[in-house]
């Protein structure tokens, strides 16, 4: 059955899209689209092929959308409306430094639907017992680990080490990726020192501007939990290109018009 295959793919965090015909006499017809395989039937072979192509394109950007086609999949047609639910794999959150704040950040990352990895060079601190919500806790040098880790535009890099000896090499590697969020914990003074160091090693102003530091939105967070919320809110606000102020004091629509989604 389609549902069982879909459920198995979702459990395995495997990319899959479910296409549904939403009107006409064949409303409800389904096509399940994997990287290589198709299951189900929308009505005609041409429509299945066209829908599969569109579904794979949407999977690549993690977007769910409605599309219209002709009866046999003609791209200019309007007879058939298809709803394409794309289930892209979870985006990744990499948290560098296994401190109290990491535990709270890992927890909220998980809550938002990220696959969370915590990385710290110190085996005593980098344990699953200290950070139970992380999917993975890795003992490694942060910069070396990030060099080999998969990063895309949905990835959030959260640097909580606030120790120049880790931060500078790690930020250099981070800025070479296309990660959607690069945040670094530390006071304004700490960050001023980091900027000086990074400039010395040749990092451009444009790259420096990609670093969110001091990390988080300005909500007066004090505890690790509050700080985690401030960081999470900043990740969302940056993705949606919002300033992060109070809605009651603004005039923009509450939700942005849908654009390709980077959301989990």
């Amino acid at each position: 059955m389609i549902f069982d295959r879909l459920a198995a793919a979702l459990r395995a965090n495997q990319p899959v899209a479910l296409v549904t015909r939403i009107d006409g006499s064949r409303a409800g017809a389904k096509l399940l689209v994997f990287d290589e395989e198709l299951w189900g039937d929308l009505g005609t072979p041409g429509l299945n092929i066209a829908a599969a192509g569109e579904a794979r394109a949407l999977l690549a950007v993690g977007e769910t959308a409605m599309r219209t086609f002709g009866e046999d999949g003609e791209p200019v047609g309007v007879e058939v409306r298809l709803f394409i639910a794309a289930y892209a794999p979870k985006p990744s959150m990499y948290v560098f430094g296994a401190i109290d704040f990491s535990r709270a950040v890992a927890r909220i990352g998980k809550y938002l639907g990220y696959g969370v990895t915590v990385i710290d060079a110190r085996p005593v601190f980098a344990t699953k017992a200290r950070i139970p919500d992380a999917d993975e806790v890795v003992v490694a040098w942060p910069d070396e680990w990030l060099e080999r880790a998969p990063v895309d535009s949905r990835t959030a890099l959260i640097i909580l080490t606030h120790d120049v000896k880790f931060d500078i090499p790690l930020l250099q590697v981070a800025l070479r990726t296309n990660a959607g969020y690069i945040g670094a914990m530390g006071s304004r003074r700490t960050h001023a020192n980091r900027i000086e160091e990074l400039k010395r090693v040749g990092v451009s102003d444009a790259d420096l501007a990609r670093i969110s530091a001091p990390i988080g939105l300005d909500i007066g967070a004090r505890t690790p939990e509050e700080t985690a919320i401030s960081i999470a809110a900043e990740i969302i606000a940056l993705r949606e290109q919002r300033g992060g102020g109070r809605l009651s004091e603004g005039s923009l629509p509450v939700h942005n018009a849908r654009t390709p989604v980077n959301a989990p």
Binding site: R11, A27, T64, V254, R258, A263
Partner: protein, 104 residues
């Protein structure tokens, strides 16, 4: 779908007839994005949501009807601010919801 997956599997395991309602389109400002899903079974249990709680009771009725008849349908809630408030869509947006029996 991911948030109701476990529930759907459990209901299927119990052999309960199920309908699912999926947000397939939104216009203007809407509380849930396309793909948001609410599931209903023949016993009357509900999981998930398609709005911020605004139109769930109307969708529930459609879902029970879909379970009974097997007939899928596309329903629209909202349109104007006044209409939105009358069905409870206080955000003022419009949402299109596809309701179908889960027999696939």
């Amino acid at each position: 779908m991911k948030d109701v997956l476990e529930t759907l599997e459990r209901w299927r395991g119990e052999g309960l007839p199920i309908a699912v309602a999926t947000v397939v389109g939104v216009e203007q400002s809407a509380p849930r994005d396309p793909g948001a899903m609410m599931a209903v079974n023949a016993r009357g249990d509900v999981a998930g949501s398609v709005s911020g709680g605004c139109v769930e009771s109307a969708v529930y009725d459609e879902a029970q009807d879909a379970i009974a008849t097997g007939r899928p349908r596309l329903v629209t809630y909202g349109i104007s601010d006044e209409d939105a408030i009358s069905v409870g869509l206080t955000c003022g947006g419009t949402i299109h919801v596809f309701v179908e029996r889960l027999d696939w």
